[in-house]
Symmetry: C2
């Protein structure tokens, strides 16, 4: 492995001169810089990240921790973050599970964006003692050292629910995701507000865990116990809605004649379903960009405005 020493030897100059030349320091005249760069390229030298990171005490990287690569929601978000980071000369690394823990603890990046519920609040607060900035996406942590950015769930769900009510639905049920998680809480509160404002009471509340599987189970539970069905399922996300739709359809129910259903997130699949699922669309790419911008601003300790990402209600055929 070629090191800066080898380059210096080959260029018959000192290590510091090589370093300055390679980093475009103005104190090295252009012709020398060019010569040194040529030699470096020739022997295939590229600075060791580890050494540089150690000395500079920064990595020029941002870590994004997500709960899994499967979630249909992440990809545009990641693309958005990456886009903005690249634009500012930063590198993005993505991790899941306990890899994220390790990476965070050993400070493998200059900042981190957390979209992984599996990392506990305490862990995060603990890590934030040695490592900043940390931006959390999927919850609120009221701790000075952590920055929260969340989706505007409440208003969008309020609007969606209002739309549903306007269509004449009365027996409306809510399907929770993981109950005490930020996204669920705020979506639920938007739903509730709309119901209250219209003087309606909630028909029933089911609780799932944001997965399709949990939607399937809720539907099966209703079916197996011959429970009375709502005329409308307002779900905290698309995946649960899909689980319910699929199961009910298999059992002969037809949507929206027998009941209506709505989701949240507007994942790609939702547009392909039959009927197409009504949902709340969030521009995750823009959202990602704005997350990256915030991270960068926090890094430079600039002032910044708190951002919320708005959701857009997409009414389709499922109610």
């Amino acid at each position: 492995m070629a090191t800066i020493k080898d380059v210096a030897k080959a260029a018959l100059c000192s290590i510091s001169t090589v370093s300055y030349a390679l980093n475009n320091d103005k104190r090295i005249p252009d012709v020398t810089a060019k010569r040194i760069k040529a030699i470096a390229a020739d022997i295939g030298y590229f600075p060791s990240g580890a050494a540089r990171n150690l000395k500079k005490r920064s990595t020029n990287r941002i870590l994004v921790a997500i709960s899994d690569f499967g979630g249909p929601v992440y990809h545009e978000l990641l693309d958005g973050i990456h886009y903005q980071l690249m634009k500012n000369g930063y590198t993005m690394i993505v991790s899941t599970g306990s890899s994220s823990d390790t990476l965070l603890k050993e400070r493998s990046a200059d900042g981190a964006v957390i979209a992984d519920i599996h990392i506990s609040d305490e862990t995060l607060v603990q890590i934030a003692k040695n490592f900043r900035p940390i931006i959390v996406l999927d919850r609120r942590i009221e701790d000075g050292s952590i920055y929260n950015m969340t989706i505007e769930n409440h208003d969008a769900m309020y609007e969606m629910t209002k739309e549903i009510i306007a269509r004449g639905y009365q027996k409306i049920a809510f399907v929770h995701g993981v109950k005490d998680v930020y996204d669920n809480l705020t979506r639920y509160s938007g739903f509730l507000k709309a119901m209250e404002d219209s003087g309606l009471s909630v028909f029933h509340e089911y609780v799932g865990n944001f997965t399709k599987q949990s939607g399937i189970e809720i539907a099966k539970h209703i079916l197996n116990n011959h429970l009375e069905m709502p005329k409308m399922f307002v779900c905290a996300n698309d995946e649960m809605a899909i689980g319910i739709m699929e199961t009910m359809q298999k059992n002969g129910f037809v949507i929206p004649q027998d009941f209506g259903i709505s989701g949240f997130d507007d994942i790609e699949l939702s547009g392909y379903l039959n009927p197409r699922l009504s949902s709340v669309k969030v521009n995750h790419f823009e959202w990602g960009k704005s997350i990256a911008k915030t991270t960068l601003k926090l890094l430079n300790l600039e002032k910044f405005d708190i951002q919320k990402q708005k959701g857009e209600v997409m009414v389709r055929d499922s109610f």
Copy 2:
């Protein structure tokens, strides 16, 4: 930021003792080790990754470079790789685009898995001079320093085509992805072999680029120019097939009555389409595990067997 020095000071011992204690070296008696660990935890010390990586000349990380987070194919693959890596005490980082380049060049990992066509063969060979092992997934590079692992495309596509022919289809067309890319080449050759073995000649060859959009364009091209249609489209992947299906259906064609169609990859969406798309399913999770195992083996310079991942033909309703 607490360093090992601070721990040493607090524990009234030398730096080396702390290091040994924290790394469970047997030369430190248990009680001392416990004491030092407690102190370290107390002052919130965690070793700097950069310093450790520099000294140890290894990072305990594997980099996976993918072309984008959107591809429906990646997620199980990544989960599989991650699963196996974790099991062996390694950390996984994922990157896209030029972030991958940087990460690779500065040797931010102990090895890399490449599933990103945007990184050129030359770049890869160049990087492999300073950085190994490198495992490429989406092509074949015949260079001693790079290890290729690919999906068993040929046989699976052969089987699928045979199945199609058995159903009596005659006017069969092939829809290429990016033409000279490994996956396309091998899928095509499997298709061709089956056609030849059955004494059939290919009705037509269209060429797309693996995206849904390119499928849409192929369909539009046929429609707009009133070209004669094949009775069967054999597509190099699901996404193009979906583009064709969608466009044709919008224009009144019904599948499989008017024509049949098949894909490759069996992405999640395919099972939800109407009609459900016949495709070749690859167990990407297992595939990922086997990639990680190979990487680890290469790291330890152990002997290993070359792995190919088999595809399973899923005949559904689209032909």
